[in-house]
Point group: C2
Chain length 102, copies 2
């Protein structure tokens, strides 16, 4: 594209970007659904075997790994860590519910 | 698998599930990185054209759409909405920073 090419109209460009965001969000929702299936299986396994719901050393490894992945993907590592904490909080809530009825 | 098949050893099964969770997390981190590229472009477009950072009607549409997708994916729709709010809060923080230097 030459430097003289006209910029796309802002409203059309906004619509194009939003369509991409919507596609990405759909992909993330399906990934999250799959992730919760896996953590539900972890929760059931832990409840059946009297394993503790939280595991601090596993969480520390996950945080370090996600921060490295975030750097590789040019995502803010602090945001990636906040994101993981947000998810893990929800997962532990589910596990504690499961342990309650184990 | 017959009902009599032995259950996998809990520690091995936990390791298997965690490997899947790690794969899914890597996919989500790369999706989030791509999403922030798109919202950064939206922020720059809005800043260059004096469009407001937040857009309540767009957000309402996104929430309704994500709740529907969550139901189709068997993910808790309330969690999907909390997730979107978490992301949008971060995006608006970025947009406001951009508007500040526009």
């Amino acid at each position: 594209m030459s430097a003289e090419a006209p910029a796309p109209a802002p409203v059309a460009e906004l619509a194009r970007l939003r369509a991409s965001i919507d596609n990405i969000d759909a992909a993330i929702v399906y990934m999250l659904a799959e992730r919760f299936k896996a953590t539900k299986a972890v929760g059931e396994l832990k409840a059946a075997n009297a394993m503790p719901p939280a595991d601090k050393s596993r969480e520390a490894q996950q945080i370090e790994r996600l921060r490295q992945l975030a750097r590789a993907a040019e995502l803010d590592p602090d945001f990636a860590e906040k994101f993981l904490n947000f998810i893990v909080t929800e997962v532990i809530r589910h596990h504690e519910k499961l342990q309650g009825r184990a």
